[in-house]
């Protein structure tokens, strides 16, 4: 990463391309959040690479005045792995959607997380296929009626937080498009994280799945439904903090604050090595319905794939010296013919 702090204006991070998402799309807000954050993140823009797959979200790199690859459906984590391991100095960001990451690209996502590749994955979850005009996605709720499920989806949706934690991710967080401050804070944490970061951002698709996250954004309901996970703080939520999260027998539960001793209220610890509690928190809701945790679920340290690969190369060079072609082609033994 750049050692000299660099600051930009947001416009420095904007490419000359016209942004072409539908008016009112949540992607605009996320783009603004990311550009504002990156203007001040202290990394020169030539060292930033955005990699995406296919889908509405995947157009993101075209709008960033950085290096970028708009790749193929689902494969962005694999492309980004190649970018990151090839040049560890780069700040590599993946932008993806729920179909791209969890359906066609599920395999690449879990392996990038497991390997702890130094890439930051932003998954915009709108619970629908937007670019193909409205089919149900792997995060659509059961019973969801769409063009391809006129009688309702019969599929159990994935819980992205549970999946990432199960895939040995070292950084797992969730934000929502409308909450720019929360997004900025999570991006900062993700940037500083050594290894792969998985950030789910609830994103409203106002054309094909409008108001999917209303329970978390509507003034009337959001206070009751947003469980804000803050490291080192007691997990209370709702009007005047009348609800709380406790861990009983290893399982996270929502209780009335008044019914429990204060000492029983869960104090969030993102650095807990054992993933069980973070996993249990992710099970408090299965989608943006009812009380749903937002914020950083988990942030733990583990050697990164990128560092380990280069560590092996460095020690090979240290032990054997820089490779020489003449030695290489003689390494199996030779004989002379005169």
């Amino acid at each position: 990463m750049s050692k000299i702090p660099v600051t930009y204006k947001r416009t420095d991070l904007q490419s000359d391309q016209e942004v072409k998402w539908c008016p009112g799309c949540g992607d605009y807000t996320i783009l603004a959040s990311v550009q504002n954050f990156m203007a001040e993140m202290g990394i020169s823009k030539e060292k930033i690479v955005f990699v995406s797959g296919i889908g509405c979200a995947a157009r993101f790199p075209y709008y960033m005045n950085t290096y970028g690859v708009h790749s193929i459906h689902g494969r962005a984590p694999a492309v980004a792995t190649g970018v990151s391991v090839s040049n560890p100095d780069l700040s590599v960001w993946v932008v993806s959607g729920d179909g791209d990451s969890l359906s066609i690209g599920g395999n690449h996502l879990i392996h990038a997380l497991r390997k702890n590749v130094n890439i930051k994955i932003l998954m915009f979850n709108n619970q629908i296929y937007g670019l193909t005009k409205g089919q149900y996605s792997p995060t659509s709720e059961e019973g969801k009626k769409t063009k391809s499920s006129p009688f309702g989806s019969v599929e159990m949706p994935l819980n992205p937080m549970s999946l990432a934690i199960g895939a040995e991710a070292t950084f797992v967080a969730r934000s929502i498009d409308m909450d720019r401050d929360l997004t900025a804070g999570i991006l900062e944490e993700a940037k500083n994280h050594k290894g792969s970061a998985f950030v789910e951002i609830y994103q409203n698709c106002n054309v094909f799945n409008d108001k999917a996250f209303e329970q978390l954004t509507n003034k009337e309901t959001k206070v009751a439904n947003r469980i804000n996970l803050v490291h080192g703080e007691k997990t209370v939520f709702g009007e005047d903090g009348h609800k709380a999260v406790v861990i009983r027998n290893g399982i996270a539960q929502i209780v009335d604050t008044k019914d429990v001793d204060e000492s029983e209220i869960y104090v969030h610890n993102i650095h807990e090595e054992n993933p069980s509690i973070a996993f249990s928190l992710s099970r408090l809701s299965h989608g943006p319905y009812g009380p749903t945790p937002l914020g950083v679920f988990r942030k733990v340290q583990r050697d990164t794939f990128t560092e380990e690969v280069h560590g092996q190369i460095d020690s090979a060079i240290e032990q054997k010296g820089e490779g020489e072609l003449d030695k290489l082609i003689r390494s199996l033994g030779t004989w002379d013919v005169s």
């Binding site: 990699v51 690859v69 980004a80 190649g82 290489l328 013919v337």
Partner: protein, 616 residues
């Protein structure tokens, strides 16, 4: 005393095939005999053949593994036709290979394995040694297991470990018969088992026991010697195609002043490239064993974007999975080498057998109009140069290149006259570090000679650009749905590839250039075709040959070469893929000699078939 009784016959060449259960160590015996012969100075070529199953049921035909080697005192190009010597470690090995043994050939049987159970398991109704079917061969029965047990009595080893050394009896006996010293193999054993000295000693004892058996038993007193070959002077190593290809990639990276990135998912028979490259991290080689074939290719695209010599390697089924990613590299105009070590298809097919059936797939196996250069290795040592050439084209023209090898090239070996690495040309790249116009950076402003676009690497200030699979506007690289632009870019991508025809080696003629008949080939059939043409020329049959290394584009003198001949014959290990291409591109009434039996052509087979066509 034994010397007095020994008659040594000098012969120009011999083909030996070792066959046994996959666990019998036949690949090792073959490799050891090969290496000893190479060091001695013979020319040679090998053909290993093994089942796809790691340990198929013991004693069955399905579990038979074999290794054939031809050694000669002259320049040879194939592992031989029908073996002159067959070593069969059990009845199944006999049953699977006897039909190939040359008339009056030498047949060495491990007689201890010819128990009723094994005979039945191999599918024999009666003991083949008694049925008369071995008449016409010189049969030598050797109690290999008994010899091993007796020899290793002094060692404190479990019974199974003892019997594992019986392959050394076979190797010792063959070393005696063909007058090969044991020293080289003894050194190898000591080195391999340096941490298990008891095992090393036991194996050496078994090796010597086999050798001494030859000395003692009169039947073996007629021995053979194949003199050194008069190969061109130089320093040689014995190399197989997977290693040659790996070293070619490392060399190309070094010569381009780039680091090598190799993304791959384990698949037979390409995995050895991954194994080989992962050993050479001190060349700054990054090997990436991906979660699947697609990720292996996708990561290579990412590596290419950052300025690596990016390579992804696989075999047939894996190439199918990589297809969409190759299209991305083609559309983004990023350099990428895709190695396909072909095997028998379709689907899982014959994972350990050679076939040339992915040629059309390499040329056309992508959606959309997506031409790319295709290069093929013609022999194990040529795989080195083919890899270097594929990298050269990819880097110079900013394009994915498919490099075809096959199981025959990949696992076969031959002596390689080592090049002077200083004399290999440096490879050009299109890396840019500065703006290419006054108004800014245009990522699709092309080089006027090669039509390659500039390669701007992340980390370079001022050249930030975005690239992807959507159609790009010429020059700016911005997404464009413009009709005329798509037509232009499609034509440009095709033109860029066809223009490479001027920048590759010309098609060369071999053999009798005054002939009416041309034998045209590509890839691993090179040895067989060339040897067949040589034999026919020696017999006075007028015929010439030419061999494609570049399958797309063809060299620019191809039409000129083909036009000199009245008849064109194309032997291929497929049902006629180059045949179709040549007929279409040059409008010649070419004839095919085709085979998809999972076996390479022998020179004998091609000699007969080519002659038959000429005589029609």
């Amino acid at each position: 005393m034994e010397i007095e009784n020994k008659t040594v016959e000098s012969i120009p060449a011999i083909t030996i095939r070792f066959a046994g259960d996959s666990g019998d160590g036949m690949q090792l015996v073959g490799t050891r005999f090969t290496d000893t012969s190479a060091v001695f100075g013979n020319d040679l070529a090998t053909l290993p053949a093994f089942p796809a199953e790691i340990r198929a049921p013991q004693g069955t035909i399905a579990g038979v593994s074999s290794f054939q080697v031809q050694i000669a005192d002259f320049d040879i190009l194939t592992p031989g036709d029908n073996p002159d010597v067959l070593v069969a470690m059990n009845p199944a090995a006999l049953k699977a290979h006897l039909h190939d043994l040359a008339p009056n050939g030498m047949l060495i049987l491990n007689e201890d394995a010819f128990e009723e159970k094994n005979i039945t398991k191999a599918g024999y109704k009666v003991d083949p040694r008694e049925s008369g079917e071995l008449d016409g061969y010189r049969v030598f029965q050797v109690p290999m297991e008994k010899l091993t047990k007796e020899a290793l009595e002094e060692f404190d080893l479990p019974g199974r470990a003892v019997l594992r050394s019986k392959n050394m009896i076979a190797l010792g006996l063959i070393s005696w018969t063909f007058n090969r010293p044991l020293e080289d193999t003894e050194n190898w054993i000591n080195d391999k088992f340096s941490k298990l000295p008891e095992i090393a000693k036991a194996n050496i004892k078994a090796l010597k026991t086999g050798y001494n058996f030859g000395i003692t038993v009169e039947a073996f007193h007629h021995t053979y010697v194949v003199d050194k070959a008069s190969l061109p002077p130089g320093e040689y190593t014995n190399i197989n195609g997977n290693i040659g290809l790996s070293w070619g990639l490392i060399t190309a990276a070094k010569k381009a002043d780039l680091d090598l990135f190799y993304g791959s998912y384990p698949i037979t028979p390409a995995s050895d490239i991954l194994h080989e490259l992962s050993k050479h991290k001190n060349f700054n080689v990054i090997t990436f064993q991906a979660e699947d074939e697609i990720a292996a290719a996708a990561a290579a695209v990412g590596a290419s974007f950052t300025g690596k010599l990016a390579v992804t390697g696989t075999s047939g089924p894996g190439l199918a999975l990589k297809s969409e990613t190759i299209s991305l590299a083609l559309s983004a105009e990023l350099p990428l080498v895709i190695v396909n070590v072909q095997r028998g298809g379709p689907s899982t097919g014959l994972p350990t057998k050679p076939e040339q059936s992915d040629l059309m797939f390499a040329l056309y196996g992508r959606h959309g109009e997506s031409p790319l250069p295709v290069v093929a290795a013609k022999s194990p040592s040529h795989a080195f140069y083919a890899a270097y050439e594929a990298a050269r084209i990819a880097l110079k023209y900013m394009t994915p290149v498919i490099l075809l090898s096959d199981n025959y090239v990949a696992t076969g070996s031959e002596p390689w006259n080592l090049p002077n690495t200083e004399e290999l040309n440096n490879l050009e790249t299109n890396i840019v570090t500065k703006l290419n116009t006054e108004d800014g950076f245009l990522p699709f402003l092309r080089n006027v000679d090669t039509f390659a676009r500039p390669w701007a690497l992340p980390g370079t200030p001022g050249l930030e650009y975005r690239v992807g699979g959507l159609e790009k506007e010429e020059g700016t690289g911005n997404v464009s749905y413009d009709a005329a632009n798509h037509q232009y870019m499609t034509d440009m991508r095709a033109w860029k590839v066809s223009n490479i025809a001027n920048d590759i080696d010309k098609l060369e003629l071999h053999g009798d250039e005054s002939a009416d008949t041309l034998v045209l080939g590509w890839g691993s059939t090179y040895g067989g075709i060339t040897q067949a043409v040589n034999r026919l020329n020696e017999k006075g049959v007028k015929v010439a040959s030419a061999h494609f290394v570049h399958l797309n584009p063809f060299p620019d003198n191809t039409l000129e070469v083909i036009s000199k001949f009245k008849q064109v014959i194309i032997p291929e290990l497929n049902t006629g893929q180059l045949l179709k291409l040549v007929r279409e591109a040059f409008l010649v009434d070419a004839r095919g000699i085709n085979k998809v039996s999972g076996e390479p052509f022998t020179a004998l087979e091609l000699t007969d078939k080519i002659e038959a066509i000429i005589n029609e």
